[in-house]
Amino acid sequence: MNLIDILIQHSPPLIVAVPLFSAFLIPLVSRINEKVRNAFALVMMSITGFFIALLASDVFANGPRIYVFGAKDLAIPVVRILFEVDSLSVFMAIVTFILVFVSLVYSWSFMKKENDGLDKYYTLILLLVTSTLGMELTGDIFNFFVFLEISCISSCALIAFWVHKAEALEAAFKYIVISSIGALFVLFAIGIFYAQYNALNIATLSNVLQFTFLDKIALVLLVVVLGMKAGLVPMHMWLPDSYGQAPPSVTIVIIGATQASLYGAFRIISTIYGNFFNSTDLSVVNFVLNTNAIGWVIIILAILTILIGVVMALIQTDFRRLIGFVAVAEIGYIFLGMGVRLASKYVESVGNVPTAIVFPAYGSIALQGSIFHIINDCLDISLLFLVAGAIYYATRETSLDEMSGLARKMKYTTVFFLIGLLAVSGVPPMNGFSSKLLIYESTYQLNPIISIIAILASIMLLAVFVKVFYSAFLGPKISKFENVEEVPKSMLIGMGVIACIIIIFGLFPNMIIHYLVEPAANALINNAQYISTVLGGV
């Protein structure tokens, strides 16, 4: 076994361990000087990225990989935790890495003006990364809960980073209230699983699940809580509060954590309950109606999420809060794809005799669109938050009513805003268009009205950002912005990296779908592979 093979073998724990140990080393490194601290955080994140790349190459080539903490023999009754990494986990880890790396580059200048607390800032960012990556890589539902809790606590502390602002403290308080209550329900659902099946491993649970009444309760608890953590309407109100008050460099890392909750919801529906919702076996023909029903619940919530997100964004005057509502709407598009897949399942019959259970092709395309939109949403919304941060850095303003003519002073930032604007509104040839097109067309085949609503909402998104562009960037020069200058290079590099990825993803969507999205979607569709990797491999 050569060095690369050894590194690949141990990469799942290292991806979590490197940022975790770095987080605890940051206060010590901070004592040297701030540049060393910033560089240390960047280097450690790059190392994490290297391990993610190694693991991704292995998983995409050879299928899911497991890593066991504890006894490998399942017959030995000891506590063990298992990481199981499939294409979807790796896909999410890549998304998280991009966001965090850009956040650290951006923070270099953006947080420079902060006099105190930056050692804690970097520690918390790295802890949040640890928890997010842990949620994405773990194959154990209780372990998922532990990482979810770490994510809640570190996110709360980061939202309240500007502790001198009452609004930031209030947003952090609301976040921790919502998160703690949600976490309690998740723990309760895990208790239901453990009481019934004496198991916490996701693959084992998936294999033994009976879809009893208690399992239905656990399903509802988990999906609703994770839906709330992802920002599903009407449980989304914490999201614009938190996104709007946290430093923008923090917000983009929290976006990654939010997407990890969404990943959790997808994993539960398609993997733990996959034998019922994904199955095309005629022995579970009775579950087709259940699958459709769950699909329609998700579709209704998704459409509400899109509409309320967009309509509320239109009346916001605080730039960051406005983007927060747009982020809510974008989450709706992601859930819509998942809902369409579940609702599209049907039974083929000859006379009254069922002959096959089928997912039509558009169901799988909807899921691909949904997964592609995860990464697109993260990139587009993050770029817009970074632009909002750049404006705040240069002007100390967040209110659109107080802004005017910034394009004259901040040319690069304006270009980045335009790229973000076009991408998030789904204007061709940006990345948002490709994923939304997949969602629109597949949704149209299920129900044209829903698809039309989704398209109209996307047009309204464009209107929202045209308002921002007009009021903040266009218009006359105003005297109070006389001395405003373009932001420092590290902030421009951060925004530039995301803008480049957006353009590449937009121009070559087929490549991203082929190499990243399709394997991730197949990992969700084919839960048998996830189960057999653990039960046949340990």
């Binding site: 308080f173 609301k174 919502i178 209550i181 949600g182 329900f185 009444f213 239905k216 309760i217 399903l219 509802v220 608890l221 999906v223 609703v224 839906g227 709330m228 009407p234 449980m235 109100m237 914490w238 614009p240 509060d241 259940n290 029903a293 769950i294 619940v297 919530l301 309509v311 509320m312 239109l314 009346i315 005057t317 558009y362 395309i365 659109l400 009513d401 005017s404 003519g405 061709p428 040839p429 268009f433 490709s434 097109l437 067309e441 085949q445 209107a463 308002k467 921002v468 007009y470 009021s471 218009g475 006359p476 020069k477 005297s479 121009l507 070559f508 969507p509 087929n510 490549m511 082929h514």
Partner: protein, 116 residues
């Protein structure tokens, strides 16, 4: 790799090739630019031609004429005043209400899933 890179994205019922689209847009812009070149060239900068005509009224200071963010789409928001009144009541910033909405959705989905 290159083939995949430039391949047309099949969406099940349609297709999308951004590279072809981008090339088409560049050609269209070039054509528009050439057509623009045939236009009149009598436009004189810094004369009466560049001044705004406000029904004969004098033009205010540029700074005071900027339409603020909250005034853009005033007509739209005014028409949907009743909808916005309900939505603003929903978004009251009260953490207890946030939890209440969570419990309501939990109860509704419980009933729905319990029934099927």
């Amino acid at each position: 790799m290159l083939e995949t890179l430039l391949e047309t994205l099949k969406t099940g019922s349609g297709f999308w090739n951004p590279v072809v689209w981008a090339v088409a847009i560049v050609i269209i812009f070039l054509l528009v630019y050439i057509l623009r070149g045939f236009g009149k060239k009598e436009y004189k900068k810094e004369t009466g031609q560049t001044q705004a005509f406000l029904s004969g009224n004098p033009e205010y200071e540029k700074e005071s004429m900027h339409v603020k963010g909250s005034n853009v789409y005033w007509g739209f928001t005014e028409t949907l005043k009743s909808v916005y009144a309900v939505l603003k009541r929903m978004h009251n910033g009260n953490a207890s209400d946030y939890v209440l909405w969570f419990l309501i959705i939990l109860a509704v989905v419980f009933i729905f899933v319990g029934l099927i």
